[in-house]
């Protein structure tokens, strides 16, 4: 039976709660102890104590105590609530939901429990549960618009569009006075409703609604874009054209507007002159507009193209626009266009020969044309590295101090597979403009490509925040600098330092976890802000978060590395390296050295961090805060990845990365190929077969896919009879005919 408290202790209990809320943990604990001295089996107090301990980072003790509290007082909503909070702060949202549900059953009127539960449900995409929660919250407080919008969102996410619209309409009808014009919660809610009507597919009604209800919307761009789209979809071409013209006027650098405009203008197929006239009008109207001049290059052909491309290139070279090549390279899928571009650039050089020294800026005129030609011959679709080199040499001769020229030189070396020279050239480019982080980043990247991890980190350190505890690397991790972590990991991998490589790849994995959790606060924040459409976009994107190439690249690296580790277990040298392809003594020595050095660096960083923390003025709130963060932040007890490299089950570790890869990027053949390799080693033949079939659908002529077919056959032949009949059946149904086709 739960104990009841005396008045004095009941008051004390309230102070415990207050201290917790004010983050006065020590005082809170003291007060809790006082109560427990007299009432050692008071569940609520035990729970509060657990909550405070959790906030202090004593997670395990907190859980143990909270469990004890629950066994003493199963009927206390506080105990269940605390239990839920503990799970929530430790990111176990499923268990948190269960606890919250118990708490809510015991205390159905609690606004806080209901609200917390709702957030957990939407975070975990339990949309039906979310609908229920939001319904209850609306019933409790129907006068708040947020609650109506929230329920509509819940229905929307659950796929019930008509109910979502109904809810929004019901609220609108309940309002007697017209909302103010600067009420952007209202403005946004109206556009949200409009997006739902359009999502149902009723474009006619969406347009009517937009023109009547959203005419005063504060998001004018959204209204203009939606209206233009609806008109076009409804075939009201003349009005649509007008609407798209208005959009081009507003933002003349959005290719989509031109494209849609042209679509509704009914221009006869292949009439390039008429088509170009549409763009020319805007080019003339707005001399600073780039799109209107450049976009016709996409559809023009033959001499029309030649003339337009020449005019465009001349203009760009005269202005010295460094992105000229980057903005035209998509044209290279057309052989004619690809071949004519260097000719035009050469013509330009010829024509300007007489006056090339006239202006002092080397990025303009001849310099720009040479730069373009160097990039042209460096690009994979028009590659001739000798020519590229000779053009970049000429450009450098023109201006030895131009960073861009040297940057391109480095890129040419990279394509010549000379990572050493590439690294040096990029670092030289960097030295010409030491205030620009872009070139600094490139220099670091090229150093990593040349396996110079330590040097690259020092280069990065020129721009990271000096005061971050733990140095440049800690800052890059804090700031979620994925590209560096990936390149650094890959370089360590090439150097044979499996531990460091895994360390980086796992860090990237963790960053994606953070990105997924980042949405948590926005479930309630966005309702307060009223920006609903952006919130829906966020939810949709978060659902696909790990289809990002950032994730895929790191995950594929990790899976491949784990496969290698499985095939070639760790060597006897004790260094966290694989013995695989690099068994000669020199490499082993270098690996040993690298590991030693990394360990030393980590120790040094730790020492410095400790010193720094000690030096901080404790009176300064900021210093205090960092200290707190440091206190609660778990120390990295495996900075060089030794433990990761020492895994006894690399294939299980690979699964951690592989699952998301296959789930979110199934159309990437590299993922399927890697999946096959993991599954066949795990003797999961059906899953291996599934990957193989997916790969075959994507590209059955892929050489590795062909190898894998044979591999699977060889693996299956001797054991097929021993497999369960069901598995045999699937294999004969799925594999045999697939092989026959391949």
């Amino acid at each position: 039976m739960p104990q009841t408290l005396s008045t004095r202790e009941a008051n004390l209990f309230r102070t415990v709660i207050r201290h917790y809320e004010d983050k006065q943990y020590k005082r809170g604990l003291k007060a809790a102890e006082q109560i427990l001295k007299k009432n050692p089996k008071h569940g609520d107090t035990m729970s509060m104590k657990a909550l405070i301990m959790n906030a202090q980072g004593k997670t395990e003790e907190a859980f143990a105590l909270a469990k004890d509290a629950l066994t003493i007082d199963m009927k206390s909503h506080i105990c269940w609530h605390v239990y839920g909070i503990l799970y929530r702060t430790n990111k176990n949202f499923d268990e948190a939901i269960k606890a919250y549900k118990f708490a809510l059953k015991l205390e159905p009127e609690s606004v806080q429990i209901q609200r917390d539960l709702a957030v957990l449900q939407v975070q975990m995409r339990d949309y039906q549960g979310y609908v229920q929660s939001r319904f209850a919250m609306l019933k409790a407080r129907p006068q708040v618009r947020q609650n109506w919008t929230a329920l509509a969102i819940a229905y929307h996410l659950d796929g019930n569009l008509s109910q979502a619209e109904n809810i929004l309409t019901t609220y609108e009808k309940s309002v007697t006075s017209a909302p103010s014009k600067t009420d952007y919660e209202n403005s946004e809610a109206v556009l949200y409703k409009n997006s739902i009507i359009a999502e149902v597919g009723d474009i006619e009604r969406a347009l009517t609604h937009l023109e009547s209800d959203a005419k005063n919307s504060l998001d004018r761009l959204a209204v203009m874009e939606l209206r233009a789209r609806y008109l076009a979809e409804l075939g009201r071409k003349e009005e649509a054209a007008k609407a798209y013209r208005a959009l081009v006027e507003r933002n003349s650098e959005r290719p989509e507007y031109y494209k849609r405009l042209v679509d509704v203008l009914d221009i006869p197929e292949g009439d390039e002159a008429v088509l170009k006239a549409v763009y020319d009008e805007y080019a003339a109207k707005n001399p600073r507009c780039d799109a209107a001049k450049r976009l016709p290059l996409d559809f023009l052909t033959g001499d029309n193209f030649r003339a337009a491309a020449k005019a465009y290139l001349n203009l760009m070279f005269d202005k010295g626009v460094p992105s000229t090549f980057a903005n035209l390279k998509h044209l290279y899928s057309d052989q004619y266009k690809r071949d004519i571009m260097p000719i035009l650039a050469e013509e330009y050089l010829e024509e300007r020969k007489s006056n090339q020294v006239a202006n002092g800026d080397s990025s303009k005129g001849a310099g720009a044309a040479l730069y373009f030609l160097a990039q042209h011959y460096n690009y994979h679709m028009s590659r001739d590295l000798a020519k590229a080199s000779s053009y970049v040499d000429k450009a450098v001769e023109l201006d030895p101090k131009n960073t861009d020229f040297h940057m391109t030189r480095a890129r040419i070396y990279k394509h010549q597979d000379d990572t050493q020279k590439a690294s040096e050239a990029m670092d030289h480019a960097r030295s010409l403009d030491t205030r620009d982080r872009y070139i600094n980043s490139k220099a670091a990247k090229y150093q990593l490509r040349n396996n110079e991890n330590e040097k690259a980190l020092a280069t990065m350190g020129l721009f990271t925040r000096a005061e971050t505890v733990g140095g440049p690397l800690a800052d890059l991790i804090d700031m979620q600098c994925i590209w560096f972590l990936t390149e650094d990991g890959e370089a360590w991998q090439r150097r044979g330092n499996v531990g460091m490589a895994l360390k980086r790849l796992h860090t990237i994995f963790n960053i994606f976890d953070i990105w997924q959790e980042d949405q948590f606060d926005f479930h309630s924040f966005s309702l307060r802000k009223g920006q609903v459409r952006a919130y829906i976009d966020l939810i949709r994107w978060e659902d696909q978060l790990r289809d990002h190439p950032f994730y895929f690249r790191a995950a594929l690296d990790a899976v491949k590395l784990y496969i290698e580790m499985y095939d070639k277990p760790q060597g006897a040298n004790g260094v966290n390296g694989i013995d695989g392809k690099t068994t000669n003594g020199e490499d082993a020595a270098e690996k040993k050295k690298a590991a030693k050095k990394a360990k030393k660096e980590a120790q040094k960083a730790e020492r410095e961090a400790a010193e720094k923390a000690a030096k901080q003025d404790p009176n300064k709130p900021s210093a205090q805060k960092t200290k707190d963060v440091e206190d609660t932040k778990k120390k990295d007890d495996d900075p060089t990845g030794l433990r990761l490299a020492g895994t006894t089950d690399p294939l299980a570790d690979a699964m951690k990365f592989l699952g998301h890869m296959l789930q979110f990027s199934p159309k990437n053949i590299e993922g399927q190929i890697a999946g096959f390799e993991v599954f066949i080693r795990k003797k999961k033949y059906l899953q291996a077969l599934r990957c193989l079939k997916a790969a075959m659908t994507l590209d059955k002529d892929h050489p590795t896919v062909q190898e894998q077919i044979t591999k699977l056959q060889k693996a299956l032949d001797p054991i097929l009879d021993t497999l369960p009949p069901k598995v045999q059946e699937v294999i004969s149904l799925e594999f045999t005919p697939a092989v026959a086709k391949a």
């Binding site: 998001d219 000096a466 920006q531 966020l538």
Partner: protein, 254 residues
């Protein structure tokens, strides 16, 4: 090149562009905070010329402007603020930064009724200063000593958005006129009058407050911006949106 509104799915590559280009970095959540509080204000420039490498490629961001409204304006005047703006070195000289800024400024006025927009720039960043001062016509308000983490000073710059406000008002009026309808147009007139009034006041007050109020306004602001510099780091690095809002609240109370 494509210049368009930022979407949440762009953010990893916006963050990437920021990390490549600038020393002031933020974690992903801070970008989300902008994208979900003022989704109309931030724009990106996308390189649409790259052939996709995988079926899952995201648009390659080569430039962005990350913008916000000041949530607690010390001068009580609604205004926008540029948190971060950058364009990749490979895509400079195309006027991208200017175009991004102009789109953002228009939306600041239309959606949030901004009267001006402010920003900080390193005193050594000649290219950016040229863009703000000469191309976009920003005014330098003052110099903020040691604003940046590495000790460099910042210019506080400000652009009066009055011309855009008038332009927007005219555009709305023209739309209403085109839509016709006597009854509704008189209704609109009344309200746009109201707007005119506030707008008109600004013209006067804008100058007056600007001169008379500049110094007194600058002082608390200086303090505040000092904190804001902290916030920039903190918020950029703090844990959550919740904390962020709390900070703004405490800032006001302090």
């Amino acid at each position: 090149m494509d210049i368009r509104l930022l979407r949440p799915s762009d953010i990893p590559l916006i963050q990437h562009a920021n990390l490549e280009n600038l020393p002031e970095n933020y974690f992903l959540k801070y970008y989300l905070y902008h994208a979900l509080s003022w989704p109309q204000l931030s724009y990106v420039a996308v390189d649409v010329s790259r052939p996709p490498k995988t079926p899952y490629d995201y648009p390659k961001i080569v430039g962005y402007v990350l913008a916000k409204m000041d949530e607690e304006p010390t001068d009580g005047v609604q205004h926008g603020h540029i948190t971060s703006l950058s364009v990749m070195r490979t895509h400079r000289k195309l006027g991208i930064a200017e175009k991004l800024m102009r789109q953002s400024q228009l939306a600041m006025v239309e959606t949030f009724g901004a009267h001006y927009v402010s920003l900080h720039v390193r005193v050594s960043n000649a290219a950016a200063i040229h863009l703000y001062r000469d191309t976009l016509k920003f005014q330098t308000e003052k110099t903020e000593l040691k604003y940046y983490a590495d000790g460099e000073d910042a210019f506080c710059m400000k652009l009066d958005l009055q011309p855009i406000r008038e332009q927007v008002r005219e555009a709305i009026a023209a739309e209403k006129a085109a839509a016709g309808g006597e009854a509704s147009s008189s209704d609109e007139d009344a309200s746009s009058d109201e707007k005119d009034k506030t707008g008109g006041e600004d013209v006067d007050e804008g100058e007056a407050v600007g001169d008379v109020g500049r110094d007194p306004a600058a002082k608390p602001k200086k303090k505040k911006t000092g904190k804001e510099a902290e916030v920039k780091v903190k918020v950029g690095r703090a844990l959550g949106v919740g904390e962020l809002v709390e900070r703004v609240a405490t800032k006001q109370s302090s």
